[in-house]
């Protein structure tokens, strides 16, 4: 992990509203995070928390009519101020996204080789032969022997695990500085998951790439990232180093998340968070988690807490100092 001087990516008070049939719907309420060069950040939350939306916002891949307020900066550039040509170059060579389901994100009617070389030849104007050689080499690096033959095959001829390796290869081909991985192993079966994650992690470290790793699985994220940001209802509620998070989660939601994981070693009752996950547009004026939080008070419902440094973490909670001192506040977390 390289030392960070200037952050590579800065998101500041990001708010995103999408156009729906009769108005606008908020999907990201207040997202602030930074990623240093070579650093791996986990973005963890339940469905509907806005994690996928966040990385799509970074690449400006939002549907028409979307409104974005706040700041998005990548290495001094501002994707939201780029013209079309600059944006295409930004997407092709600065950042790269790895999608969740490779069967859906690769065109079934074109060959693997076409998929890999397309970005290079059509956007970066690399000659085709060169691009093909690079693609074959990249495929070998992600562990696909027989790479030359695979280039000529079609997506339906490869298994899910192989296909996901292909998407990783494609992402790495353009030599980006930031990888955006959107739950890359969720669509795979368990044994393949491990393989794919191992390859992704290895390649990332080798090239010293920054990465945002989106997941709903806290443990998985903790294993491959340096820091983790926890999202709920379109807002970041806690930001902490991955190692720390297990032992010392601070925000009530994070604790509840950790607590709600099924244990394989101890037999005990799952603790349940009452209610259901809220979407960004359902939260009111105060803390987004106020409705379901056991510790919510009047101030929590009326004033939005900002992310503040507490004990080495960044936490968005009014009462965190009090709560920390409570007896048994961290009961139920794994050792």
């Amino acid at each position: 992990m390289s030392s960070s001087h200037e952050p590579l990516l800065i998101l500041e008070h990001l708010e995103v509203d999408l156009r729906v049939r009769d108005g606008m719907r908020t999907v990201l309420r207040d997202v602030s995070l930074t990623v240093a060069p070579g650093e791996s950040l986990g973005l963890v939350g339940e469905s509907g928390s806005g994690k996928s939306m966040t990385i799509r916002t970074i690449m400006r891949l939002l549907p028409e009519g979307a409104r974005v307020t706040g700041e998005v900066a990548f290495d001094g550039q501002r994707p939201y101020e780029m013209d079309r040509k600059e944006l295409r170059r930004f997407r092709a060579s600065d950042v790269a996204m790895i999608h969740q389901d490779p069967m859906q994100s690769i065109n079934p009617m074109r060959t693997i080789g076409d998929y890999l070389t397309e970005g290079l030849t059509r956007v970066l104007k690399v000659p085709r032969k060169e691009a093909e050689v690079a693609a074959v080499a990249q495929l070998r690096e992600v562990g696909i022997e027989d790479a030359a033959r695979r280039m000529r095959q079609y997506p339906h001829q490869l298994s899910g695990g192989l296909l996901q390796r292909v998407t990783i290869a494609a992402a790495l081909l353009a030599q980006p500085r930031l990888l955006l991985a959107d739950e890359p192993s969720t669509a795979l079966d368990v044994t393949t998951q491990e393989e794919v994650m191992a390859i992704l992690d290895e390649q990332r470290r080798e090239r010293d790439l920054a990465m945002i790793f989106v997941s709903h699985d806290l443990d998985l994220a903790a294993a491959v990232t340096d820091r983790i940001s926890v999202m709920y209802a379109g807002t970041i509620v806690e930001n902490a180093p991955s190692r720390d998070l297990h032992q010392k989660a601070l925000h009530p939601y994070t604790i509840a998340l950790l607590c709600a994981r099924p244990q394989t070693t101890r037999v005990e009752r799952l603790c349940v968070i009452p209610g259901r996950p809220a979407a960004a547009d359902e939260a009111g004026l105060g803390c987004v988690f106020a409705d379901r939080c056991g510790f919510a008070q009047e101030a929590c419902r009326t004033m939005r807490p900002e992310l503040r440094p507490v004990d080495g973490h960044m936490v968005a909670c009014h009462r965190i100092e009090e709560l920390e001192r409570l007896e048994g506040y961290r009961v139920g977390m794994s050792a």
């Binding site: 997407r91 065109n107 079609y154 490869l158």
Partner: protein, 326 residues
């Protein structure tokens, strides 16, 4: 006939193994022609009596029956007819008193010209409008509206409106007839071809636009944009390319369907093709001609469908015999 989504119809015509591919159409032709023959045989009226006229003697009747091959059982008659037809012998027309095959010869060319002309219009205008409606957001609903109205215009109504405006009003085209020679045909059959094409072109426009929409919303299209490809590239390489197969399939199917529409259009424009002959034969109960023309149209239709099936199997990488590796 009621419309369905492009993909569902494409799936319905799923590729079959080569043997089944040949067997299906053959079986269809056999069954349909059998049903046709039997149905017409059950029709009232006796061709023998019609041909002989007056009060023929029993011997004359028997002789005529033998001559027409009607002294065999119906099944045998059917088979004889089918074999003869395959060799181009369609029997004799009661009304025209001549060989049916002779009657058909010149007319087949004319009908073929009309259908081909209309098919070109259908594909060019239909697919073109559909792509326009799918690619350019602002034109989308305009195209959809035009197409919705176009589908509802029957060929004969279109025919009369076209004649009124373009033939009588502006005088650009003749009001009827098929003309002679290639350019004569082209000039005479422009209005008929347009009348024939309108409904089908509108339908193709709808299907094309719907298919393009469907393909545009797929995840791999957004993924391609995310890799930095420009919108033209994305559209051409990922939307259009994927939409091509269903659109081609439906276009071919619709063009095949034009064959039935020639009946009405030829009648409306006084064109001497297979269609108008069929109409008059049905009206005058000239069964030999009816059987012949229906059989021809049926065979052409079924063969076209089989070719489309084959095309689909060849063009779709997913249906090529490829086992999952890996």
């Amino acid at each position: 006939m009621p419309a369905e989504s492009a993909t569902s119809r494409t799936v319905a015509r799923a590729a079959s193994a080569p043997v089944r591919w040949l067997g299906g159409p053959l079986l269809t032709i056999l069954i349909a022609s059998f049903v046709l023959f039997m149905a017409l045989a059950a029709a009232p009226g006796d061709p023998v009596m019609t041909l002989l006229g007056g009060h023929p003697t029993p011997e004359a009747v028997a002789a005529m029956r033998a001559k027409l091959g009607m002294d065999h059982s119906l099944i045998v008659q059917y088979w004889n007819w089918l074999i003869a037809a395959a060799q181009g012998h369609f029997g004799t027309s009661i009304i025209y008193r001549s060989d049916v095959a002779d009657l058909l010869a010149g007319r087949i060319r004319i009908t073929f010209f009309l259908v081909a002309y209309a098919a070109v219009i259908v594909v060019a205008v239909g697919v073109g409008l559909g792509i326009l409606g799918g690619a350019v957001k602002r034109l989308g609903s305009a195209v959809a509206t035009i197409a919705a109205v176009g589908v509802a215009i029957p060929a004969f109504v279109a025919a009369l409106f076209l004649v009124q405006v373009f033939a009588l009003g502006l005088g650009w085209f003749p009001t009827m007839g098929a003309g002679t020679g290639f350019f004569g045909h082209l000039w005479h059959m422009t209005l008929p071809a347009v009348a024939l094409a309108i409904g089908a072109a509108a339908y193709i426009a709808q299907i094309t636009r719907a298919t393009i929409f469907e393909e545009q919303s797929r995840e791999h299209v957004e993924a391609a944009r995310g890799r930095g490809l420009g919108s033209v590239d994305v559209f051409r390489r990922h939307v259009l390319r994927n939409a091509a197969l269903p659109i081609i399939t439906v276009s071919a199917l619709t063009a095949a369907g034009l064959i039935a529409g020639t009946v009405v259009v030829e009648y409306a424009f006084g064109i001497g093709g297979l269609g108008s002959l069929l109409v008059s034969s049905v009206a005058s109960k000239d069964y030999a001609v009816v059987e012949a023309i229906t059989l021809i149209l049926l065979v052409v239709f079924v063969v076209t469908l089989a070719i489309i099936d084959l095309l689909q199997a060849v063009l779709d990488p997913r249906s090529r015999a490829a086992r999952k590796v890996g």
